[in-house]
Every structure is written in structure tokens, then in C-alpha cells.
Amino acid sequence: MSLLLQTALLTRRRLLEAVRQPIWIFMGMSVPLMYLALFAPLLKPLAGGPGFPGGSVLDVFVPGILVLMAFGSGMGAGWVVLNELDSGVIERLRVTPASRLALVLGTALRDVVMFAIPAALVLLVATPFGFDPHWGGLGVLLVLLALLTAAVSASSAALGITLKQIGSLAAVVTGLQLPLTLLAGVLLPLSLGPGWLQGLAHANPMYYAVQAARGLAGGTVASGTVAAGFAVVGATALAALGWGTRTYRRAMA
């Protein structure tokens, strides 16, 4: 009960903070739109080829972009948290009876909202250009990606508190971002690649998210791929929230 209330209060605080920095909202919106405008046209000639079965290339590409957005929305949490470690905010909150899980969830839920709004915008913009998803499946997909954002947000926060240095955090997060996104088949389907690449991808939780995302956008909700996506991403989110809570419990500037 108090966990819910505290989570709501702390999420509200984070959202207010975001609203007061409109530049980040603007950037959050513009990046995915740039992918659509500047990258999607390159895929046009691939339509109907391997990895792009029938329909519009956007049907393959947009789910990937959504996964990328979900990842990117959670990534920044570590910086926010590090800042608060330095300014004593975390110490102050840790002396209050507030639940440590609520502290992690406050940031994670803000990141989910900050993912969902530009995601809706991308869907809106892509539709007139031939993106033709299964809207029910897309609803389920957004739930899956909310879990992914929460997992990334909590992990980033935990990393920030653990590493304590902006430089180390930047190195680790950006160092992970590239292999994780490449090995997820976000931009191009991994089925285009050799077997070893596809094998390696199976170790990457994001891969399951992307696979499930393409299935869901196409309307296949009840499938093994989707179940695997929810299982892997859900487990990752739980583990990340647990990790984040643990680091908050011990956090020391």
C-alpha cells in the first residue's frame, strides 16, 4: 500500500523534473523520427527480399526502432542517479522510511512514460507511410517494451551507484549499448547473418524482445516467440529491479 503511494509520489517527482527540462523531451522525440526519416528510406529496396517478407519494410523496421527507443529511454537513469548521489539526494531519501524499491521504480516508471510518448508519436507518423501493424499485438508489445525500459533503467541506476564515476558509467553503458543493439537485430533482421551471429544473439535479452516485437506487430500474439520474449524480458526486469533496490540500500557517496 505505502509502496504504491511512494512509487506514485516518486514517479510524479521524476516526471515533473522531466517536464522542466523540455530539451530532453524534444531530443527523445526527435531521435526516433530521424530514424524513420533518414534511415528507413535506405531499406526500401530491400522490400520483399530476405528478412523482409511481404508488406512494407516499415513492418519489420518500426518494431526494431521501438525496441531501440525502449532501451534508450532507460539508459539515462544512471546519470540522473549519479547526480543525486553527488548532491546528497539519495542520502536524504535513504534516511526516510521510503521503500528502496519505490526509489528505483520512480525512475523506471518515468522512463517508461518517456518511452511511451515518443513511441506513440512514431507509430502515428509511420502509419501513413505504409506501416500496417496489428494494433492489438502492438498494445501487447508496448507492455513488453515497458518491461524492457524498466529493466534497462534499473540496471543503469544500479551501475551508476556502483561505479560512482560519470566516466566509468559512460564507458560501461555505451560499451554495452552497441553489442546489445547489434546482437538484437534491431535495425536489420539477424536472419540475414551467419549462424554464429544468430547463436550469439541468443545470449542477449534484447534479441528476444526484438523477435517478440516483430511477431506482435504482425499480429501473432499467442506464439512461442512472444512467450519467450515476456519470459526473458520479465526475468531481466525483475533481476534488474532487485539489483537496483540492493544498490540503493547501500548507496554511499
Binding site: L9, R13, V89, L93, T96
Partner: protein, 335 residues
Amino acid sequence: MTGAGAAPSAVRVTGLRKAFQSRRGRVEALRGVDLSVAAGEIYGLLGPNGAGKTTALRILTTLMPADAGEVVVAGLDVRRRPAEVRRHIGYVGQLGGADTAATGRENLILQGRLYGMGRVETERRATELIDLLDIGPFSGRIVSTYSGGQRRRLEVALGIVHRPAVLFLDEPTLGLDPQNRANLWDQLRGLRGMGTTVLLTTHYLDEADQLSDRVAIIDNGLVVAEGTPEELKRRHPAAVTITTRPGPADLAQLAGELAQEPLVRGARSDGGAIRVDLDDPTTAMAAIFDRLRDRRVDVVGVTLREPSLDDVFLHETGRSLRDAADPGEAGRIAS
């Protein structure tokens, strides 16, 4: 929300130890600290940087576990019941900890709600604190626009939203100008007047002396002296320097005689002046001046230097508090 009612002391610390593992070895930050803070007093933990004050405060406020020792705050064991302890204490850290992207009022309201206070009650309390700490003129502004003094006031308000029985402050006046310092002292005295126990760390002598009811001098992870500032200072003599007009009297011999007087700890001549160390200057002074008149010594000036807590520190540690900031690592690394 007090809960300290039945307990004789608001804070009781026995045998507190804490060591950190650093790359250069084990650093013992606290080596067996004992403290007892009575309910309703302002208690100062005085010591140089690196003495272990902040570590002690962090353990007392549930932020960090101790290696050994017992800590009871507001009648509750900190190790066993940290969640309950948190309901009874307030903490104003050295770093501050106000949310810089929110307004002062928003900060206060969130803090109150996190302590489980209802919406209406929190609003009322926020208004009350804005009044009490003079936050009114800027309570609606984003904290990142605040001056140092304004921010500190807000941070103290954040520490007492839930009316804690014990308020902990880590170097509360660090970086404040004299005016804001004096204001904060008054506000802390006001809190004491309302029954709040205040435990603060400081490396300022005057803060320990003038603000605190009792003081523990901490150095190198140990409490080296404890008592009211008066008690501590009374153990040390006041220094009276008497400047004389050149005359026939032999000042060195006179100093030797003065040293034999009751209540005089020592005396020596220094050029045209005599320096006398007195335990109780008000009583001893008359006898000294009688003696000077007998010897026809013309006094042209008298200065009295009362003992300070720095004398206490110097006596206990062999060095002055002013010079003691950040003792060498070597001194703190255990073998």
C-alpha cells in the same frame, strides 16, 4: 512521534567501531567511540576533517552498518530496527540533498508524504516550516536558483518535516556566511526549545562552544574529551598578559614569585610583559595586582585570553585543531 520519552538518553553509543578497506590498507575510521546525548540538548561532535565524525553520523542515521558496538537512537537499536529508527530521526547531510529541480515547497511536501503524513497535514506542516525557517520569499522557486543560505534553510526544514525526536546535522554551517550562520544557530536553538534533540558535527570551535550544550571532541576515531564547553575549558588555564612600563623591577624574579601564588598555574616574563596562567582569573587577579603594586611595577596593559576548546584539543591530541585538518593517512592506517 518522540518515542524517546522512556529512554534516559536520546542517543547512546558504546564501543562503536568502523574500518574501511582502502587500496593502501585498512583505515580505522572509528576505534571505539562512546557517546551519550540527553534528550533535548544540542550536542556537538567537534573534530578535524577525517576524525570520523561523518562516519559516526552515518552509522547513527542508519545509512551505514557499524563493524562493532551498540547504537541506540530514540530508544531503538539502530542495527536491529533501522526502519523504526528512521521514523524518529531527521538528517541534514553535508551534501544537502534538496531536489534541485523542484521548488522548496515541493521538496517539503514530498518529504512529508514519504514519512507517511497525509496530504492535508503535509501541506499545513510545509506552510509552518516555510514560516519557521523564513523560506517564504523563495519557497515557490526551483531550488537550483537558491543561494547557499536559502538552500541550507530548506534542507534543515526537510530534516524536521516529520517532527523527529532527534535531528542529526553534518557540518550544518559549512560554507555559510556569518549572518546565515547566526540565523541557523538561532533556529537550532529554537528547535531545542521545542524539545528536539540536536546532534551536529562541526570543525568550527565557536560552533561547538557557543551553540552546543555538550561537546565530544573526536580525533582519529576516538572521543578524547567530553563535557559541557565550560567544563572542558575549565580544565585549562586562562592566560593573562600584563604589559609593564620599563622600571627597576626584575620581571623574571617577579614572575617566579607570582608562580608561587595560589590559583596561579605558572608565570614567566617575556620582554616587558609577564604572562600568567590562571585557573580562575576573576579571583586570582586582585592578588596579582597587589603584588605588582608592592613592587612598584607600572602596568600599561592587561589582556586576558580565556581557554578555548582549541586549548582542550591541543592538550588532548598534542596539536591544534586548526593544524589538524586531514591528518596524514599514515596516522590513520592500522597495522
